[in-house]
Amino acid sequence: MSNNRLLFLMSNIDNDLILELTIERERYGKKLATKNKPSKAVISCVAAAVILICVFISVSFNHKVNNNTAVNITDITNPIFPMETETSLETTLSSNDSEPSQTESIGYFSLSADKLRNYDSFDDLATAAEAVVAGESIESTVVFRFGNIYTLTKLLVTDTYKGSVVNGETIWVIERGGYTTYGEYVANCGADEKIFGDMIVDCPDEYQVVMGVDGYFPIKQGEKVLIFVGNTSGFLPDFDEPLYDIIGDTDGKLYVQEDGTYKRADPSQTDDHAFGDNELTITIEDLLSIP
């Protein structure tokens, strides 16, 4: 008997055992979907924390305005809770992504973000950014914070156009979204029916999901990018190194082109980038003109 035949033979075990498994499967499926519902005490604590953060941000904002500091949206929100306040993220699919896009065992989901400000021009980005660097992603890991998924990317900097980062150094960049499994996402962010629909009932834990924002997905390992970043150090607890986030969520992320220019990608249903003619293109000359 070949190994596969024994595998097939398992299909023919007695009905009562298969029925028992079916019942248990429903039970642990439901357990998975609900195991992360927070208790009332946790909800109260989180609510109190949010109020405190809002007060802190408000005080911080007033302080900066009073000191006539050049203020941009990212600056206001960076110290503690950068992305949550910069973009009010809703856990809904964006309108043009009503169905998750699927490739081989991977589902792509796009959250929608209500941005307070868009950075559409090179000047906007260059002014707002604390640092402008080009580099290659050499490592990335998913982290969960405040019930949201983020990707922490280690970028090997090849060129610095603004800021104090030295060429050849690595910096950490954090972005909303990430590559994970359904089980991991649900365990950390909850099973939102608005995102996953019917999948909540029977989606296996190991189903690969890629979460993006407005059709943009996090930097993949090996990708060469130009990023306009702000400093968001302290956002992750127990992470002592300097941490950067991209200006305007995804506005300040451009990909290297064959001709050496950098271009912002179009929103997409997967993490394969497409570049439209009208997307922002930045040349090396533009970058060298940054004061």
């Binding site: 024994l6 033979l9 081989e104 089980g183």
Partner: protein, 185 residues
């Protein structure tokens, strides 16, 4: 609609049988297929193939009291076949890993030639599983019937992977011992 009524529709060759099965068990079948194939699109194809196979198999079979088990069995076989023979699917490694585990119970050279022995073997496996505590039995079924990953089982049980691995390893050893005692291996 009750299972018995659905089976009756099959027996009458009424096409509403497939519609009703789809409504009642469609998600379950896709889910079983997905655990094996790891691909949503293929799972849907497996689900449709299962309806066709059920249409061919009922009659002569009359699974009045075990329609779920019957359909689960069919979709499992369909999905395994897809996994093994469809080169586009990247699930072969996962299935091969499971096959190697099963080889610890019944080495491939220890061949069983006829269907008679196969029936004796499946009966013995069922008896062995029935003799096990429920928790262990479910873990074994999830691994060997549902083809779930050890990491997935561990997470949903709130255990470490090593615990699941050890439990399955011991169960395979015990099952092999049981089959030897029963004179099947």
């Amino acid at each position: 609609m009750e299972d018995r009524e659905i089976v009756d529709l099959f027996l009458k060759r009424d096409e509403r049988a497939i519609e009703q099965v789809s409504v009642k068990y469609g998600k379950l079948l896709r889910s079983v297929a997905f655990r094996i194939t790891g691909n949503m699109e293929t799972s849907e194809e497996c689900e449709n193939d299962t309806y066709m196979k059920a249409w061919d198999l009922i009659p002569p079979q009359k699974p009045y009291d075990y329609l779920v088990a019957f359909l689960s069995r069919v979709v499992r076989n369909v999905a395994l076949n897809r996994c093994i023979y469809d080169k586009r699917l990247k699930r072969k490694g996962h299935i091969e890993e499971l096959s190697i585990e099963l080889e610890q119970i019944l080495p491939s050279e220890n061949s069983i030639e006829n269907e008679m022995n196969a029936i004796a073997l499946q009966t013995a496996i069922s008896s062995f599983l029935r003799s096990q505590p429920k928790e262990k039995r479910i873990v074994f079924m999830r691994r060997c019937f549902d083809c779930e990953k050890i990491s997935t089982i561990a997470r949903s049980m709130g255990w470490k992977e090593s615990k699941v691995r050890t439990m399955l390893h011991r169960m395979r050893g015990d099952l092999r011992k049981y089959l030897i005692e029963e004179g099947i291996v």
